[in-house]
C-alpha cells in the first residue's frame, strides 16, 4: 500500500465522520492482523483490512474510499467474528462503501453499485426480489445487450430446470415497503 503523506485536518474530520456513522470503535485496533489473515478475499485487496483500519486511525481516508478493498469484500463477517477487540470491520466496510458512493466510485468497481441498484429496485417494485428480472436488469445496466447475452445460457438452463419464477410476485400492501424506501432515502439519497 502506498500512502501519500499529506495529512491535514480534513483527514481527522473524515475519521470522526466514519466513527460517528459506523459506530465502530476504530481506536481499539492494535494491529494483530487477525482480520487480514482470515480474510478470504485478502488475495485481491489493494489495502488489507488491518491496513484499512490503521489508515483510518491516521486519517488517510481518501485512499480507502478509492480502494478496491471495500468493493471486493464479500461481507462474510470473518473479520468481525475474529477481532479480539470487538471491532465490527464488516460493518465498517458498509459505512465506507456508502461514503464512497456519495463521492463517486472508482470506475473499475462500478458493477457492484449497479448490482445493488438492480436488487433494491426489485424490492421496491415488487416487495420481494424477483430474481429473473433483477438479473436481467443488472446484466443490461452493466454490459448492455452483450451483458444480457452472456448470461443467457445460464438463464435458459435455469428456466429449463424450473429454477426461475417467470412472473413476479406482487406483494399486496407493498405500499409499506415503498414507504420504507422513501423514508430511508430522505436522510441518505441512494
Amino acid at each position: 500500500m502506498i500512502l501519500s503523506i499529506q495529512n491535514d485536518n480534513s483527514g481527522e474530520t473524515k475519521r470522526e465522520e466514519i466513527i460517528k456513522s459506523s459506530g465502530v470503535k476504530i481506536s481499539s485496533c492494535f494491529q494483530c492482523q487477525k482480520c487480514s489473515n482470515g480474510c478470504p478475499l485478502a488475495f485481491t485487496m489493494d489495502i488489507l483490512p488491518h491496513q484499512l483500519v490503521h489508515s483510518i486511525q491516521l486519517g488517510f481516508v481518501d485512499q480507502i474510499l478509492n480502494s478496491d478493498t471495500i468493493w471486493v469484500c464479500a461481507s462474510c463477517e470473518t473479520c468481525t467474528t475474529r477481532c479480539p477487540n470487538d471491532i465490527d470491520i464488516a460493518h465498517l466496510m458498509d459505512t465506507l462503501r456508502q461514503m464512497s458512493v456519495k463521492r463517486g466510485i472508482k470506475e473499475s468497481q462500478k458493477q457492484v453499485q449497479v448490482f445493488h441498484t438492480a436488487f433494491l429496485n426489485s424490492i421496491k417494485r415488487f416487495g420481494r426480489v424477483h430474481e429473473a428480472s433483477m438479473a436481467v436488469e443488472f446484466a443490461y445496466r452493466n454490459g448492455g445487450l452483450q451483458g444480457v447475452r452472456e448470461q443467457l445460457n445460464l438463464g435458459l438452463e435455469m428456466i429449463r430446470k424450473g429454477k426461475i419464477k417467470l412472473v413476479p410476485h406482487r406483494l399486496i400492501g407493498n405500499k409499506a415497503v415503498k414507504k420504507i424506501f422513501r423514508e430511508a432515502n430522505k436522510g441518505d439519497p441512494t
Binding site: S21, P40, L41, F43, T44, V72, A74, S75, C76, E77, T78, T80, T81, D88, A90, D94, T95, R97, Q98, V101, Q111, V112, F115, H116, F119, L120, I123, G127, R128, V129, H130, E131, A132, A135, F138, L154, E157, M158, K161, G162, K163, I164, K165, H169, L171, I172, G173, N174, A176, V177, I180, F181, E183, A184, N185, G187, D188, T190
Partner: protein, 275 residues
C-alpha cells in the same frame, strides 16, 4: 409444533427445491410451517451495503409481523436469517426476545433431535460421504446469531449422521464461497469455490451438503465454468440438507428436487442405490 416460516425470496425461484423439501421434511417431523403473512424482502446484502436505515427497516417490518404472530420463526436462508437476527438485536436491545428466530438446520436439530429423526428413517444414507458446508451467515457474527461454535457448527453434521451418512470432517465448513460476488466479481467467486471443491475432494467427500440458497446457487451453477477456467473439473453434487432428509424419509419427490440442480445430482444417488 406450529412455527412462523419466513421463506425468503430465493425459495420462490432459484431455491424452489429447498422450500419444497423443507416443507416435506417438516410435515414428517410434525413441524407445522405457518408462512408469515405478507412477508417482504429482508433487504439481503444490498440494503446493508447501501443504506443503514433501509437495511434495518426492511428486516424490521417482517420481525414486527412475526412478533405479533407470537410464534418462534424458522428461516431457511442464511442471509435472511442474519438480517432478521440483526433486526431482532436492534429491536430488543438487551431485553429478552418475545420469539426465537432460528435457522432451519438448527431448528430441526435442536427442536426435534436425533431420536425423532432416526425414528423416521426409511432409506439409510450409509453409502453417502458428504461434507457439510454452512457458509458464512448461519453462524457469523456470533454476537448477532448467538452461535456457540461459529467456526465449527454441527447441526447439519448431526442430522446427516443420524441418517447414517458417513459425514467427513473438514476445516472449510464456514469458509466463504463468495456468493455475494457471484454476479459482480464472478472470477473471484470461482476462485473461492475452487478452494472449497478441492478441500472437499481431499476430505474424501462425494458430495457437499448446504443450508443456504446462495451457497447452493454459487456451488451448483458455477461448476461447469470452473472447468472451463482451469481445466480442474469437479462433478460434486450439491444437496440441500432437507433434500437428503426427505430422501432418507422415503419421500418420492426427492428425485424431482435434486433433478433441478445444474450439476448432476442424480447419478450419485442412483449409484448408491438411493434412487
Amino acid at each position: 409444533m406450529k412455527v412462523s416460516y419466513y421463506p425468503g425470496c430465493s425459495l420462490e425461484g432459484s431455491a424452489k427445491e429447498y422450500g419444497e423439501s423443507l416443507k416435506a421434511v417438516s410435515r414428517v417431523l410434525g413441524i407445522e410451517l405457518q408462512e408469515l403473512a405478507g412477508w417482504s424482502c429482508c433487504g439481503a446484502s444490498s440494503a446493508h451495503v447501501t443504506n443503514d436505515a433501509l437495511a434495518s427497516e426492511l428486516a424490521m417490518k417482517n420481525l414486527v409481523i412475526a412478533n405479533k404472530e407470537g410464534r418462534d420463526m424458522l428461516v431457511p436462508c442464511a442471509a435472511c436469517y442474519l438480517r432478521l437476527k440483526s433486526a431482532e438485536k436492534e429491536l430488543n436491545s438487551g431485553k429478552p426476545a418475545p420469539i426465537h428466530i432460528k435457522h432451519a438446520a438448527d431448528f430441526i436439530w435442536d427442536e426435534c433431535g436425533e431420536k425423532a429423526i432416526t425414528a423416521k428413517l426409511i432409506k439409510s444414507l450409509e453409502k453417502l460421504n458428504p461434507v457439510c458446508y454452512y457458509g458464512c451467515l448461519v453462524t457469523r457474527p456470533p454476537k448477532i446469531t448467538g452461535s456457540r461454535e461459529p467456526e465449527d457448527p454441527k447441526s447439519m453434521d448431526n442430522i446427516l449422521k443420524s441418517l447414517n451418512a458417513k459425514v467427513k470432517t473438514w476445516s472449510y465448513k464456514t469458509d466463504c464461497c463468495g456468493g455475494s460476488l457471484m454476479l459482480t466479481h464472478p472470477e473471484l467467486a470461482k476462485k473461492l469455490i475452487g478452494r472449497l471443491f478441492g478441500m472437499a475432494v481431499e476430505a474424501g467427500a462425494d458430495c457437499i451438503v448446504v443450508s443456504c440458497p446462495m451457497c447452493h446457487s454459487n456451488l451448483d451453477t458455477r461448476q461447469k465454468e470452473l472447468k472451463q477456467l482451469n481445466g480442474n473439473g469437479y462433478n460434486l453434487p450439491i444437496y440441500y440438507f432437507t433434500e437428503l432428509m426427505g430422501l432418507a424419509f422415503g419421500n418420492k419427490s426427492a428425485a424431482k428436487w435434486v433433478n433441478k440442480h445444474l450439476t448432476d445430482a442424480m447419478t450419485l444417488l442412483k449409484r448408491k442405490e438411493l434412487l
